[in-house]
Structures are given as structure tokens and as C-alpha cells.
Amino acid sequence: MSESVLEQFSRIAAKPYDYAREWKKRTGGRVFGYFCTYFPEELLHAAGLLPMRILGYKENVSLADSHAQPFICSLVRTSLDAALKDKFDFLDGVVFPHSCDSIQNLADIWRHNFPRQFSEVVVLPVWVDIPEAEDYLTEEISRFRQKFEKHLGASISDADIAKSVGIYNENRRALTELYSLRRENPGSITGKAVLDVVRASMSMRKEEHTALLGKLLGELRVAPKTNGATVRVVLYGNACDHPDLMNLFDEMDAVIVDDDLCTGSRYFLHTEAVNGDPIRKIAQRYMKRVPCPSKHTTSFDRRRYLVDMVKESKADGVVMLILKFCDPHAFDYPDLAKRLTESNIPHLLLETEMQPSSLEQIRTRLQAFVEMLKEKKNV
């Protein structure tokens, strides 16, 4: 039997690095890893590369702790560990945006250990909604472009970059539609499957992903309405790449209706029209997208954003999936939790790690939370 569209997405999401190896073999192209979605991956795409998000490695850490303290997030820790174990031998280059201190310092450790590999840091502005930030980022991306072109020994035209921005926008719009179809009919696709689709988008050439996603959207547009599940949940947090954890929601009859996750909607929400200087367009998008908690803005209030998301998606509660030792998310947590409580929205914090860990305590918490939501709904 041939693989269904969802099975393909899930396979790639579960083993993105295998996909990269296979893509390389198939096309003879080059693969670059990037460490945070604030990296202007459109530039890599324009040069014909496969930009792929490095999102940790699902194996216990044995080498990384000789190079960095263990109290950094497991995304950085397991990625470094995997690199030291030669698991990323397929990467032709690695690029780091300065999103948080851990990624910044990972860049330095990486350079010391893999001196022959192309690697570069793009220093992003922290305060993103001031005009100076846009000018600065436009210059910084241009600086990276020059260095990257020198490495390639070829120049990338503005037209090619604009074309890639267009291809990325098309993918962003398709993912946005996936989310709106899910909001309308959350029983039609599992929460795990939706995150798999987004995870696959971070790993595949965008044209290929959009084509596959188009088939899925076609199926979802005509999917029969289901209203089996009793509890509706919004997810918030950073990197959620835990198929087993996501399966628990299904097991407990809770549907995911929307998310504000780094590996979810934050990856694709907001597009900038392709006109004018494409580098500036990339910079503008990065200024206007739903910000990561590591960014500072004066106009965006995540507390209100989350409360609105819950109301608009008619959710019963919020599950916060936070990677342990992610400082930006951890510092925001008490404030977000307080506002949700004040808004009478039940919430649950689940700390996660990239490497394999026991699911039992998470099961107990999630089950109790779902029982609580069901009880609240019945009353």
C-alpha cells in the first residue's frame, strides 16, 4: 500500500535528517542547517540549497557536557552532542541566528570543533518594533549574503531571492489555511499530524512541501464535520517535537484547536508581499511576525494574544509545552499564567526535553488536566 500524505509528513517529521540525506542523494544539492526560524532561510533556498532546521537529537547526551554546562536547553545540548557524534555529517554548512545566549554560544563551540565547515552567525536585533531594527537587519542580512556568496563562489540575484520569498509565502499561506481548517473542524486531523506537517516544512524544500500540503488541504476541505472530542486545547510554548506526547492528547480525547508554538504557528504566520528590495522584505517580515519570547516589542502583548486565541478558537484550556532551561520562555511563564488565571482560562505547564524521557508523569498531569476541563464543561 502506498504511503498516505499524512504518513509522508509524519515520516519526514520523525526522521528529518534521513530526509536530508535522501534529498542530497536524489538531487546532488547542498544542505545547510539553521538553528532558529529567525534565520533568513529564503537566501539559502534562493541559492538552491536545502535549508533545514536543526531541532535537537533524540538520544541521550554523552559528549556535549564536556563543552557546555548541562543547564542549557536540550535543543542546543542534544544538537551539539549529535554533531560531536558525527550524526550531522550530511550538513554542508550551519548558520546561527543570535536568538538566545545558548544558540550564540553554540555557534562558537561549533566553530571550534568543526573549523572546516562553513558556519556563520546572523546577529538579529532584540528590540524588533523600532525602525532602526529594520534598517539594521536589512544590512545584517546583506552582510550574510555577501559572505555566503563568497563561499558559494557565485552570486544570488535579487530576482532569485524574490522568487524564493514568493515560494515561502505560498507555503506560509498553505500552512495558515491548514490551521484555519483545523480550527473549524479540529476532529478532522490530529494535533500530532498538524505539528508533523509544520515540522516537515522546516525540513523539506518548500516547493515539495507545498505540493504535498496541497493534497492534504484538498482532503481536509471536504472532510466530514466531527464533534466527538469533548475538550478543546490551545498549545503554547517553544519547540514541541514529541510524537508520544502529542499522541496522549488523542488518547485522552482532547483536540488541539490552535497553537502559539515555535514549531507551530509562529513559524509561518505573517507574510510580506513580494515587491521592492527582497532583503528588506525578509527583514520586514522578521520584524512583524509573532515574536519569539527572546525578542522585545512594545506593541505586541502575548498575554492578550493568547487569551484572544483561546476565545476565538473556543478552547477550554491552554497546555504550555516549555523546553526545560529555555530562559526566554521560562521568564514569560509566570506572567502568562497569571493572565490566563485572571481570564478564567485553565492552564497546564509541561516541561519537556529533546532526549528520550519517561512519559508517565506527563500522562498523569495531562490526564488530570483533561479531567478538570471535562468537569468544568459539565458544570
Binding site: R365, E371, M372
Partner: protein
């Protein structure tokens, strides 16, 4: 035909508990140490409860809810409910004025905010490590060569509780060994252990907020020294539920079994 019989079976990390309820009263309650397999613990504890109630078979139980770590592996359970929901229900059934329950089990601890209808309003659970739980006490007892009961009574005798700084049970064990080698009195170390655990629970409890009545459930609630330390650290009175605090989860499961049966 006699009145329906409801059961709760709580297979925890350290002990298995079973409670049988009929006509709004507990007719059997049993605690056994865990066997390596949760299924076996469940069978052992329910059979003892069945014989305590003077019955012949688990088939006499009309409806049974499983809870605890082994809850999905109880072969005779009609459904499973998390121990958080069960402890809250059990505590509130035993004392309807309870609004906050702190459950200190063998492997983890939870703080539950309870509504006036006996439902979980909010809860928090400890981190992955076993510091601040029954396992922690067991490890300390091994080092001190005392029983769990001794920790409680020794702690009450202490005039100058020792300071144990580590949050981790493995490191705390090394700290206790250091204290012993320094010649610190065992009673002071016992009190230090109780204070260290109380301090951890306070930060957990503050996340939920303390509303009176506050109660403590789970096996560790039998440690009177710990309860005293907790009251001091929480700056709040603790009202224990009547009877054995260790069976509150299983009791809650039995009460929820009765409610589920009534709904069906």
C-alpha cells in the same frame, strides 16, 4: 440483591491501596507494598480487600476505578482516573471543608486547589526527581539506620534542626552522610530532612495558593514531624483528614466509581 459495591484501586510507585465502599461507608481498606508488576500488586491488594469485606470475588464489585502510576494496568478496573482527581475527591469526601490538598506520595507530590464541590480547580506536581517524596525519606532512613516512623518522632525531639541545602535526593544523601561524620545529632538531621522537604513543598504550594482548610494526604502525611515543619514553613494550619491519609487516593477512586455508576 444487596446494595451496589464500589471499589477504588490505587497502584502507586511504592504501595498498592484498595478501598471498597457500600452505602456511603468504607467497608474495606488495604495497603500492600508494591510487587514488581502493577497487575500483580492490583490483584494482591483487591483480593485482600475482598476478603476483608467478607466477599468472595472481585466480581462482587459493581464498578471500580483504577488510579496511581499503575492505573492503566489494573486488569479488573472499569476505568482509570488520574490520582490528582482521586486525591482531591477523597480528601473532600472525608472533610468537605478541604480546599487545598497536598499529596506526598512515594514518587511525587502534588498540590491541588479544590472547589466547594470537591473538584480539582487547579494543581501542580513536582519536577521529575523524587526529592520531597516517600522515596527521599526511604533513602534518608537507610543512611540514618532508622525507620520511617523514627524520622517523625526524632524530628519532633530536635532542638537545632540541621540545614540540608540540596534539592536533589542523591546529593541530600551525601549531605546527610557528611552531617553524620561531623557528629551532628540524628534527631537534628531528621528535623533537617523534614524542613528540607517542607521547603520544597512550600514553593509548589505557593503556585496554587493556600486556601483553608489545608490537608495533607499520601503516606508521608503520617510523618507528624513533617506536618509540623510544613505548618511552620507554610505559615498555615494543616487539618488532617480522619483515618489513614495513605488511602485517600483509593477512596477518592471508589467515590468516583460510585458517581460514574450513578451517571451511567
Amino acid at each position: 440483591m444487596s446494595e451496589p459495591l464500589f471499589g477504588g484501586c490505587d497502584i502507586g510507585s511504592t504501595t498498592g491501596k484498595a478501598v471498597l465502599v457500600r452505602d456511603n461507608s468504607v467497608i474495606a481498606s488495604v495497603i500492600v507494598p508494591c510487587l514488581p508488576r502493577p497487575e500483580k500488586t492490583a490483584e494482591l491488594v483487591i483480593n485482600e480487600a475482598i476478603s476483608q469485606a467478607g466477599l468472595s470475588s472481585v466480581k462482587d464489585v459493581t464498578y471500580l476505578v483504577g488510579t496511581g502510576y499503575g492505573r492503566v494496568r489494573i486488569p479488573f478496573a472499569n476505568e482509570d482516573i488520574s490520582e490528582i482527581t482521586c486525591h482531591a475527591r477523597g480528601a473532600s469526601w472525608l472533610r468537605s471543608s478541604v480546599r487545598t490538598a497536598i499529596d506526598i506520595g512515594g514518587q511525587d507530590c502534588k498540590v491541588m486547589g479544590i472547589s466547594d464541590t470537591g473538584r480539582v480547580r487547579e494543581f501542580v506536581m513536582n519536577d521529575k526527581c523524587a526529592a520531597g517524596t516517600g522515596r527521599f525519606f526511604e533513602a534518608m532512613c537507610r543512611v540514618l539506620h532508622v525507620s520511617l516512623e523514627d524520622i517523625s518522632s526524632l524530628s519532633l525531639e530536635s532542638k537545632a534542626p540541621a540545614t540540608i541545602t540540596s534539592q536533589c535526593s542523591v546529593f541530600a544523601e551525601s549531605e546527610v552522610i557528611t552531617l553524620l561524620n561531623e557528629g551532628v545529632d540524628v534527631a537534628d538531621i531528621a528535623a533537617g530532612i523534614n524542613f528540607a522537604i517542607a521547603a520544597r513543598l512550600v514553593s509548589l504550594a505557593r503556585k496554587v495558593g493556600l486556601v483553608q482548610d489545608v490537608t495533607v494526604t499520601g503516606g508521608c502525611a503520617k510523618n507528624v514531624g513533617l506536618i509540623k515543619c510544613l505548618e511552620e514553613k507554610l505559615k498555615a494550619a494543616i487539618t488532617l483528614v480522619p483515618g489513614d491519609p495513605q488511602i485517600v487516593g483509593a477512596l477518592g477512586a471508589a467515590i468516583l466509581a460510585r458517581e460514574a455508576f450513578a451517571r451511567a
